[in-house]
Symmetry: C2
């Protein structure tokens, strides 16, 4: 999908948050905002917003002279999420429909914004999980998902954030591991998953983990590696986590299930949901 | 006060709102956001944020080829507020301390953002008035205000928005009219008061109305006319409405009472209040 005008102030807000999170020097914080405004001024609105967001974050990394300013935050997110793992695993295994429960927990993992609140109380996190367990997801989409996983030969599971990846692992543990490749970003960008998160959370022991080659917080095929595009062509099913992946994978014509929380007004404009809704959407094969 | 980094995404958000409000052509709406980003990129952060906001709105007026894109909205705000006038007048006249009640109602006028909701229900508006009547304002500031008005020879009452001006009139009716000049912007900018609002709401029949010469949504003396600066020098008391006037008049060294609703995080950072607080602040004569 395209970048909406509504994305432009939001990109500036994200640049401010990044400056406040990652930048100690006030002069560099100011320069961050000025350069973000420059990028917004020149933005290509025909491509999805993760391209612009990726540009801003690359600029921040260059200003800071640091390749991964969110490394410590991501490690903390993964540790926090791993502490919830045993309880979440028990919820799945004792439920009537473990696969459906695991889908809901994977969506909860996207709804929990670990970076916003890396030290969130365990009971607060679990109440977000409870919300996802009770969310009104489409039975029809759920049935189609079960059938599509059954039928597929090669599944790409496109990850989104650190912390959330532990919730992805819980869903992947309910799927036939041999069919699945878990996709991480090619370079660090914000708190998005990279190979080291897959290792730190044990996911790389369960399934193949591949890089998309993307350095934006999304998976726009034209910005991925040729190697990844070949894997994408071979896959017959995609499981896509998070809004950034939805924004960039929503017109591939590939059978895809999108699991995410709708985080902004643009989703309301584009999909017709409300902000905060937990989404489980199917894109049928073209 | 200076422009905070927090102001920069907010200016973009305001540009988006302006584009959505005033611009029908999508290409011009996009150009509005791009040029706003250009202005943000080049912003002088040493001056108050109304300067940047003024720049963005001037640019919007130029793009639209229209001098006053908010004219109809302002007229509607004035009409809505005038409908409340008799009830508000009765509240003031039947209260134990009419001047204090009128101060609170003038603050309520700033809290009611008519432009956000020009067709707001009468009972919704009156419940905002009730909030202002019960707000915890400083007794000491109130006493100082009463005494300062008594003592002053020349008072400038610096207005803020259309609609709100009717609430200003109610306060002015409790003050000695011969001392007071009501100050409007020199040019239309957003929904800020100009001479035509003072006429439409009957204020120009009560007191002298003068222009600040300002075309920004605030009153930065260096951006006002020489004529106004002379009047400002002669005045011994300023009553200042709204956050934009506070941001630009908070370091003049002139005895000033600021009446406004704190509308954003920057007020939290700068004054230590919370967003939404109703403010009644005194700046003593230097």
């Amino acid at each position: 999908m395209k970048t909406y005008l509504e994305c432009l102030p939001c990109v500036m807000r994200q640049a401010l948050e990044a400056a406040r999170h990652a930048v100690a020097d006030p002069a560099i914080a100011e320069e961050t905002l000025r350069r973000a405004a420059y990028a917004v001024n020149a933005a290509d609105l025909a491509v999805p917003s993760p391209v612009l967001i990726g540009t801003v974050h690359q600029m921040i990394r260059e200003l800071l002279g640091e390749d991964d300013p969110y490394r410590a935050a991501k490690e903390s997110c993964n540790r926090n999420a791993l502490r919830l793992y045993p309880e979440l695993k028990r919820i799945i295994e004792t439920s009537t429909y473990p696969l459906e429960t695991a889908v809901r927990i994977a969506i909860a993992g996207n709804a929990i914004d670990f970076v916003v609140d890396p030290d969130a109380d365990r009971s607060d996190l679990m109440s977000l999980v409870e919300l996802a367990l009770a969310a009104p997801l489409s039975n029809e989409t759920m049935a189609a998902f079960v059938e599509a996983v059954e039928r597929a030969r090669a599944v790409l599971y496109v990850g989104d954030n650190a912390g959330e990846i532990v919730f992805d692992r819980l869903l992947i543990e309910q799927l036939p591991a041999y069919k699945i490749a878990y996709v991480v970003r090619g370079r660090p960008v914000i708190n998005d998953v990279t190979m080291s998160d897959a290792r730190a959370t044990g996911l790389s022991d369960l399934v193949e983990v591949i890089s998309s080659g993307s350095n934006i917080p999304g998976t726009l095929l034209s910005r991925c590696s040729g190697e990844f595009r070949a894997r994408f062509d071979q896959a017959d099913l995609v499981i896509s986590k998070g809004q950034g992946n939805f924004e960039s994978l929503d017109d591939t014509g590939k059978e895809t299930f999108f699991l995410f929380k709708a985080k902004c007004l643009v989703m309301q404009l584009h999909v017709g949901c409300r902000i905060g809704d937990l989404m489980f959407l199917r894109q049928k094969s073209a």
